[in-house]
């Protein structure tokens, strides 16, 4: 990963290549309109500090398949862009 990566904010999950993993830094969230969707991501186990691995990225900006907390999850690209991760060096 040679992308501009700030120490604190990390990169969006979509920046990871297939097979790479990262540690969740934050899910952009608040109490506003999108509260439900972001809460849902966290309910599915994507909370800060969690390891997440991108297994597959569907073609034409399709969804991502990730492994988190030992199971497979499909996340639409728009949602995945809101998940910020710190890249792990050796997947």
């Amino acid at each position: 990963m040679s992308l501009k990566e700030s120490e604190n904010t990390g990169v969006p999950l979509t920046a990871l290549k297939e097979g790479e993993s990262g540690i969740v830094v934050s899910v952009k969230s608040g109490y506003g309109k999108a509260w439900g969707l972001k809460k849902r991501l966290m309910d599915m186990g994507i909370t800060p500090g969690t390891k997440i691995k991108v297994v597959k990225s569907a073609p034409f900006r399709g969804p991502l398949e990730v492994i988190v907390r030992g199971y497979r999850l499909a996340i639409g690209r728009g949602m995945a862009e809101k998940i910020f991760v710190k890249v792990e060096c050796d997947g």
Partner: protein
């Protein structure tokens, strides 16, 4: 001796084998309805066990107990308000951590509960070993290992459930970190004089999680609490640098993670399992799509081949009874009315809908139960997004090609009401089996298969454009796909058959009364000699604008009952099945396109009413009629110009 009564609720994540367990417990003694006022399915059943009559309520499969979806709201309200005697929490042993995240929330509700540690065999195959006694001790809840598909452990599970229900044992309190416990304590103190159906500690936790429904209820009863909410949230946010909902959710996952660390050992198998290899291929960038086309086309081949066979069989049997029945009914006005109005309506429903709906449901449930449907949703997510929907919406659309009624019902898999409505609207535009009869029987037969194919493509383009239009017009934001991809497994035949059976009953209940009522009305109009009047009334549209023969007004009216009746009526009105003598190729194309779009059939309208209310069903119906007339007329003029060029 009077039997003792108990109510048991089944709760758990999706894909954990909850419905298999439910089917195992209740057999055919089940009733599928809706939660009052909601379009969320409620499955109930009864069971007799050791002198008890047990009501089993199958709660929707969910991942949390917040208000993200209607299902989650319903579940927690049910547990808190209706207070089942005991909750059986079905837990997937192979995904323990995420399942425990839900278990902890059930415990927060302070309901008596037991755990079914299900799919323990799958976990073993994945190299997962769980110390069951220790898990039970940590949670203070009986844990029974089960394999629902084989019926293993269920007897013991029920014994434990009854024991807990009788003793009314509440689970242990879930201990969170110090800062959270302090915050919860402060909330609980200020909540003491507020009357809510939930335990105060639960309300406090939900306030930390930013649950809007709970927050509204609390604030309504005590507006003075707002500063406290803000200050407690602010303190935690200041200390940890994340929003409070994030913090509380993470904290619960931290506790779940600690428990898992204590009770679980994993030695992953060295080589990928067959299920994983199949997963790889079926989600592959190229092969995934090729396989999907192959699977879906063979599904429809199966549905149509089996459907045609059943339709002909039923047709010959039921019409074989005609001489017998007409001799009883007599040949007079009443006899005609009864035969043509009611019995033909029944036969129509039985020979058109049933033969296609049964194989369609069978095929869909086999694919669903195996886990394939979530792969399809994954592959199609991107395309569906163009219509403001996500991948899961592809499933109702596929169903639509069989019959629009199950398609509209299947829209419940979408999360929000807005998405359900868009998906259902789009599904009603998909040519179902009955419309396929017209497309193939008229255009396919007299103009060639390539033209029939072209019409399908034309339909698909319009479906896409109209879906996009609905997406732009309807207020609200699109939601993205967040979907578990469960491991592949062999479909469980009994569950598949039962799902098909109960769906079929649902279909009959919705569709048949309307098909019969509508058939009766049309027959009455015919017997009273008003059909000519109808034709005349419609002729400005049918003849002048659409350029179709005069008799077609009636056949379009009949088509509302069942789409393919439009063609059958046309044949009987024209007195011949050789349409090429009476219709020009342009007229055939226009007629087919109009029947494709002009109105959902009565059964579909009934479904729309049931799912979305009269107003929305009415709007969809009217706008489709107008659209069909418009597109038919415009196309006619274009085709005429094109025809003069050649």
């Amino acid at each position: 001796m009077g039997e003792k009564k108990l109510v048991i609720a089944l709760a758990g994540n999706a894909n954990v084998g909850k419905s298999v367990l439910f089917n195992y417990l209740t057999g055919l003694h089940q009733h599928i309805g809706n939660w009052p006022g909601k379009t969320v399915e409620k499955a109930e059943g009864t069971l007799h066990f050791k002198g008890y009559t047990i009501d089993i309520v199958d709660l929707p499969g969910i991942y949390s107990l917040t208000t993200y979806s209607i299902e989650e709201s319903i579940s927690r309200r049910y547990i808190a308000v209706e207070k089942p005697d005991v909750v059986i929490n079905v837990v997937d042993a192979s995904i323990l951590e995420r399942n425990l995240f839900f278990t902890l929330q059930l415990m927060e509700l302070e309901t008596p509960m037991v755990i079914a540690l299900n799919q323990i065999d799958v976990a073993k195959k994945k190299g997962i070993e769980i110390n069951i006694d220790k898990l039970s001790e940590i949670l203070g809840i009986p844990v029974t290992p089960t394999i629902a598909v084989k019926g293993v452990g269920i007897f013991r599970l029920l014994e434990k459930a009854i024991e807990i229900a009788e003793k009314k044992v509440k689970p242990k309190k879930v201990e969170y970190g110090e800062d959270f416990e302090n915050a919860i304590k402060r909330f609980v103190e200020s909540l003491s004089n507020i009357d809510l159906p939930y335990p105060p500690r639960y309300v406090a936790i939900k306030l930390l999680e930013g649950d809007r429904e709970i927050e509204q209820e609390v604030v309504q009863k005590n507006p003075n609490i707002i500063p406290l909410i803000n200050s407690i949230r602010g303190e935690l946010e200041g200390k940890y640098g994340h929003s409070c909902p994030t913090l509380m959710t993470s904290e619960r996952y931290r506790v779940a993670g600690c428990i898992v660390k204590d009770v679980q050992k994993i030695i992953p198998p060295s080589k990928p399992t067959l299920a994983e290899k199949v997963h790889e291929i079926t989600t592959h960038k190229v092969f995934g799509y090729l396989l999907m086309s192959a699977v879906l086309s063979s599904m429809f081949l199966f549905v149509f081949v089996l459907g045609n066979f059943l339709a002909e069989l039923l047709n010959s049997i039921l019409y074989g009874l005609k001489p017998f029945l007409t001799s009883i009914l007599g040949a007079g006005f009443l006899g005609e009315l009864l035969w043509g109005g009611i019995i033909e309506g029944l036969i129509a429903g039985a020979t058109v809908a049933l033969p296609y709906v049964i194989p369609l449901y069978l095929a869909i449930y086999i694919l669903e139960d195996s886990g394939y449907m979530s792969r399809v949703a994954f592959l199609m997510d991107n395309a569906m997004h163009k219509m403001g929907l996500h991948g899961k919406a592809f499933i109702p659309l596929i169903l639509g090609y069989g019959c629009n009624v199950p398609a509209c019902l299947a829209c419940r898999i979408m999360e929000t009401q807005r998405e359900r409505l868009i998906a259902a609207f789009v599904a009603t535009l998909i040519p179902c089996a009955a419309r396929t009869v017209i497309i193939l029987g008229l255009v396919g037969r007299f103009l060639g298969v390539q033209w029939a194919f072209a019409l399908y493509v034309f339909n698909l383009i319009l479906v896409f454009l109209l879906g996009r239009f609905a997406f732009k017009v309807l207020p609200g934001e699109p939601t993205g796909l967040i979907m578990e991809i469960p491991d592949y497994r062999l479909p469980h035949l009994k569950t598949v058959l039962k799902q098909t059976w109960f769906r079929l009953i649902e279909f009959l209940q919705i569709a048949f009364p309307l098909i019969i009522a509508a058939t009766f009305t049309v027959k009455l109009v015919e017997e009273l000699g008003f059909l000519e009047v109808v034709n005349k009334l419609l002729s400005p549209v049918t003849v002048m604008w659409l350029g179709l023969p005069k008799g077609i007004g009636i056949s379009l009216i009949f088509g509302v009952l069942r789409k393919e009746l439009a063609l059958i009526m046309l044949a009987s009105l024209l007195g011949t099945g050789d349409f090429s003598q009476l219709l020009t190729p342009v007229q055939m194309v226009i007629f087919t396109i109009v029947t494709m779009f002009y109105i959902p059939c009565v059964a579909t309208i009934a479904t729309l009413v049931k799912e979305f209310g009269w107003r929305k069903a009415f709007i969809i119906t009217i706008s489709e009629i107008l659209f069909a007339i418009a597109i038919g007329g415009v196309l006619l003029r274009i085709l005429r110009i094109v025809a003069t060029l050649f």
